[in-house]
């Protein structure tokens, strides 16, 4: 919990990792990709405040102690949600797998929510693994990374028929939250890999599931806004939006927030630190203090209140994941309903299950 000016903020970090990208985990023959991947992450890391930057060797593989201190002791986070990314083509034991995250999930009860992942190209075996993970760890969410390389394939779409089998399995298994993350490659390579129309289709076809678009679609935040504004079950994940812009490019951050608040709405935006890309401490503290800078260019964006920040920092995610919020951190009834599906401008009472 974070307290500032007498207000108590319940913080859910909806997007964080416990990865191992050290050289001894690089797959032989794929070293350049394993190295390139973590160096790309390190580039993002460099957009945070200078005094929060790590040396590369620690960044490649940090310890359980680092994570517990940075996220919970120093970082103000109440509950953190693991979002696995496997990348087994490049990392021997995977980059940030469900199994690796599970070691901390099991050791520190109540601290973490463990999401798992699936890849439609894994076929029936992947469905079995998904079922097993849900039974073993009670997973209620999945992270989907569409640009994962697999045996010569450069990625997949949520509208692939195999992906629909998995989405049906999610519904059946009680998984409600689909965290979708687009990457730079997909088949075929001539298409825009960051295009989100497949998420749009899937969200329409699976109204019972929530689709949290990670990084709010960056680098397609504009396309994301037009899509999310019409879909009652599409949410904006704020990881990277906060981490990459709030410190490095504060005016762009304010404009991105303004657009998201206008099109998607404060009930449908969820904070995520993307740890260990960035530590949560400066992000949470900065977000609570944040408001638009002076300037006419920000005048017609929706205003931000204490209640807005409380929703985005934790209450929306708590609702999506059924996390019990302490009484002193809840909103008064007149302050609105966190995670309300009808907050987006173009969602109406006629929209399915708004």
């Amino acid at each position: 919990m974070y307290e500032k000016d007498g207000e108590r903020y319940f913080v859910v970090d909806t997007h964080m990792h416990y990865w191992n990208a050290a050289p001894d985990n690089w797959v032989e023959g794929a070293e350049q990709y394993a190295k390139g991947w973590i160096e790309c992450f390190y580039g993002y890391h460099g957009l945070g405040p200078e005094d929060t930057r790590w040396p590369m060797d620690k960044y490649q593989k940090y310890s359980e102690e680092d994570l517990m201190r940075d996220v919970f002791d120093a970082g103000h986070v109440d509950v953190a949600i693991f979002q696995p990314t496997d990348l087994r083509e490049w990392y021997k034991e995977g980059f940030n797998t469900t199994e690796r995250d599970a070691t901390l999930f099991e050791k520190h009860p109540g601290r973490f929510i463990l999401n798992t992942r699936w890849d439609p190209r894994d076929g029936d075996d992947g469905l079995k693994t998904l079922r097993h993970n849900v039974e073993r760890w009670g997973c209620k969410g999945v992270k989907l990374y569409t640009a994962e390389w697999r045996q010569g394939s450069r990625g997949w779409k949520l509208t692939d028929p195999e992906a629909y089998r998995y989405l049906e399995a999610c519904q059946e298994l009680g998984i409600r939250n689909i965290h979708a993350h687009k990457g730079p490659t997909i088949w075929p390579l001539d298409k825009d890999a960051f295009d989100m129309s497949d998420i749009d289709h899937a969200a329409t076809d699976f109204p019972g599931l929530n689709f949290i678009v990670e990084h709010s679609g960056i680098p397609r935040i504009d396309d994301f806004c037009y899509m999310a504004t019409q879909e009652p079950n599409v949410y904006a994940g704020l990881s990277v939006v906060v981490g990459a812009l709030m410190h490095a490019r504060p005016r762009f951050f304010a404009r991105c927030m303004g657009e998201l608040l206008f099109w998607v709405g404060e009930d449908k935006m969820t904070f995520g630190s993307d740890y260990a890309i960035w530590e949560p401490k400066w992000q949470v503290e900065g977000f609570v203090d944040w408001d638009y800078p002076p300037g006419a260019e920000f005048d017609d964006y929706p205003r931000v209140t204490v209640a807005s920040r409380k929703k985005m920092l934790g209450l929306n995610a708590a609702r999506l994941y059924d996390i019990e919020v302490p009484v002193e951190c809840r909103l008064a009834p007149q302050q609105g309903t966190p995670a309300a599906r009808d907050d987006s401008v173009a969602v109406t009472a006629e929209s399915p299950s708004a």
Partner: protein, 231 residues
Amino acid sequence: MSTDGGAVLAALETVRDPELDEPITRLGFVASCTVSAAGDARVRLRLPTYFCAPNFAFLMVADAYDAVSGVPGIRHAEIVLDGHFASDTINTGVAAQAGFVHTFAGEAVAELDRLRADFLRKAVLAGTDLVCRPLLAAGTAIGELAALTLGEVPPSPELDRLRRRRSELGLPAGDADPLLIDPATGAAVGVDALPLHLRRARATRVGIEANAGICRGMLRVRYDTRGEGET
């Protein structure tokens, strides 16, 4: 006839990052640019990450090849993209003028014209915001804006750029053509649809500019040298 590096750099100034709609020189993507006395140009390009989207990377390398090859006095152009997962594939494919489909055989089904046009349409939308926002701030009413033609808008570099982008797409860009058009169809935008159209134009501009900010920041983390023509 001898050619200096300045002419080649000027040619590279015409090559844009299709997503960011800015010249690759100003973005810092040109690591070096040299020309021999005999007219052999060597250009090294770099990008903010190892995993930048390969289709856009290919477009920039191919466009740079075409632009430099077209400079009078250049006998041979060598364009090398450094530090990208597909560097070898792209460099070889562009040098052989093989096109995208052949360069990424089995992984691509079409050339990149449609992708480029999609992003030009975004550039038109973002450019619309750049041109309209000062007009609105100066008191132009929404109804007046909808009736304006390009020739009636006060001259500015932003207006010139908007007209050039519209021309590239084959959209109407003459003095008598409307300022506000649908970038997909070229049809004029009516008064009723205008508020949402302007909102979309602004969101598009915010998206492009935020991406450019992130790309510049990451390039700075990755390389501690300034690019040729970087601003």
